[in-house]
């Protein structure tokens, strides 16, 4: 008994496989006899890295040539299932493309998806997923009740990526053919927005702001402070909803999960929606003028004070250090 084959949807950047992909491989190899990767693009460039984290094989659908990956990767998986070579479990990270793959596949093969999973547990020959609810105060463990492909969308940072010392994964291609209308969207251009510091979900320090800053211009204080501590700026949902910063800055239940060494919450009251995204931080500093703010219940250092007074002094002191 046990889970025989897990496929991980592999995502890459110019720098290699994403952290989310390697985290999933690390966990998957403890759960199944065989772990393989399905991806788009140049698999040979990452076969070493994927193998070192536990994948024995990697299947690529080849160059996307501007197409979005969701439909094509889902078609490749559905095709493998039909041919009897498919996985028992598909794991994808909760990313922009990971959700597209899981959603397309789910509808294509009529299988439900377990989303926002933060832990995976083997239960005989099935896999269970743990999901945080109510701001992370409660964990709900869910499993599928019937046989068939089990699809899980797992939040990045749920596991720590570790090498297994495995050999490079064997690369092979899957040809998905023409998909018609569902494949009609084409990427015409890619724009990279200048980010001077580390990425939000990889930074050792995250500085986050909320609507308590007052107006959009005051968010600059968050960016300045983030830069001074070589960290990344983040934001509450309210700040994103107000249009001050794009969705990619959002920390929380809807948004990113971050686990930095230090999370500095500026004017963030600690709505449950936000806590889910940052309560796994190693250390939390909170500045809020409301001493009753829930954020103080989880902060290691809580400052009852006005962000408009504390932040400028903190920025000035850091600048003075040079």
């Amino acid at each position: 008994m046990g889970i025989s084959k897990i496929w991980v949807y592999g995502e890459t950047t110019a720098a290699g496989a994403t952290a989310g992909t390697l985290e999933l491989l690390t966990k998957a190899r403890t759960l199944a006899d065989s772990v393989e990767v399905i991806m788009a693009g140049d698999a040979s460039a990452v076969a070493g890295e994927l193998g070192a984290h536990g994948a024995t094989a990697v299947y690529t659908i080849g160059d996307l040539a501007g197409a979005l990956p969701g439909g094509r990767v889902a078609t490749a998986i559905a095709g493998a299932m039909e041919a009897g070579n498919g996985p028992d479990v598909l794991l994808a990270a909760t990313s922009y493309d990971g959700r597209d793959v899981a959603g397309r596949l789910s509808a294509k093969v009529d299988r439900p998806v377990l989303t926002n999973v933060i832990d995976l547990v083997a239960d005989g020959d099935r896999l269970l997923g743990s999901t945080p609810v109510f701001g992370g105060s409660t964990d709900v463990v869910t499993g599928f009740t019937d046989a068939g492909l089990a699809i899980f969308l797992v939040r990045p940072k749920s596991f720590t990526a570790e090498e297994s010392g495995g050999a490079p994964a064997a690369v092979s291609e899957i040809n998905v053919g023409e998909l018609g209308d569902t494949d009609a969207a084409v990427v015409k251009d890619r724009f990279v927005e200048e980010m001077s510091g580390p990425k939000l979900d990889e930074a050792a320090v995250v500085v986050s702001g909320d609507r308590g800053l007052g107006e959009a211009d005051n968010y600059e204080m968050i960016e300045t402070l983030a830069k001074l501590v070589r960290g990344a700026p983040g934001a509450s949902r309210a700040v994103v909803d107000a249009g001050w910063v794009p969705y990619s800055y959002q920390v929380g239940q809807t948004g990113k999960v971050v686990k930095p060494t230090v999370y500095i919450a500026c004017g963030i009251s600690g709505a449950t929606q936000h806590l889910v995204g940052m309560k796994g931080s190693a250390n939390i500093v909170a500045i809020n003028k409301d001493e009753e703010a829930p954020i103080f219940g989880i902060a290691d250092l809580g400052i009852v004070g006005d962000v408009h007074k504390v932040l400028p002094k903190l920025i000035e002191a850091l600048q003075a250090r040079g």
């Binding site: 889902a74 922009y96 959700r99 899981a102 959603g103 397309r104 789910s106 509808a107 294509k108 299988r111 439900p112 998806v113 989303t115 926002n116 609810v133 109510f134 992370g136 409660t138 964990d139 709900v140 463990v141 869910t142 499993g143 599928f144 969308l153 569902t182 494949d183 009609a184 969207a185 084409v186 990427v187 015409k188 890619r190 724009f191 990279v192 927005e193 980010m195 050792a204 501590v229 994103v240 909803d241 249009g243 001050w244 910063v245 969705y247 990619s248 809807t254 500095i264 500093v285 500045i287 103080f296 290691d300 250092l301 809580g302 004070g305 006005d306 007074k309 504390v310 002094k313 002191a317």
Partner: protein, 259 residues
Amino acid sequence: MNVVVCVKQIPDPADTGSLDPVTKTLKRDVKLILDESDSYGVEMGLQLVDAAGSGEVTLVSMAPNAEVGGIRTALAMGAESAVLVSDEALAGSDALSTAKVLAAAIARSEPDLILTATESSDGYTGTVPVQIAELMGLPAVTFGKEIEVADGVATVRRQTEAGYDQVECPLPAVVSVTAGVVEPRYPSFKGIMAAKNKTVIELDLAGLGIDPATVGWAGARQEITTIAEAPVREAGEVIVDEGDAHERILAFLDDLKVL
């Protein structure tokens, strides 16, 4: 241009939710409001119809009971009419069941464009938009920051980790819209009054030709095995700023050697 906007009515996020001890799902016996995440899609739809010079925005929603409070909010913003699929058999529906129902309801009107939020504020699975697209055989662009439509093609700025992709997509298509990209209008008094007389077509599963066994509890094919309290994080030191709190923060960061 005719636009369908999928909207969800959810319990007010300001109210703390709880799980029903028997069914192990969110208690939904509270008053429902329009999910704020959906207000961006409604606004985007209204702006696109305005820009096209003709057409209308139709709302499509699903609820186990016939609740319409949140739908009236979106009608008051300017949507022309709404379709609400209500059926007791929909209780316990997961994302795929929801997508099956919405896709069937949307297909009745053959719209040019289907807009959704990226995810609901209460379920936040984020898979429904793509599931709808796949079930309807349509292309989809998720995480749209900006949409322009010309000559039957939508040009969408799609959020990425590094910035955004400029994506072109022939219509009809499904586009999910991130929050904060447009400023949702407040319903005017006139809009609120007009909304009371706008058509809300109520359909059940039989009316859509959907087998109740494929949706709701029966369709979810999932079971909750355990519910447990997550580990609690302890509070640390809390001090009141006397003008020198920044020094405490600096010392804290120094101790952690992150500077």
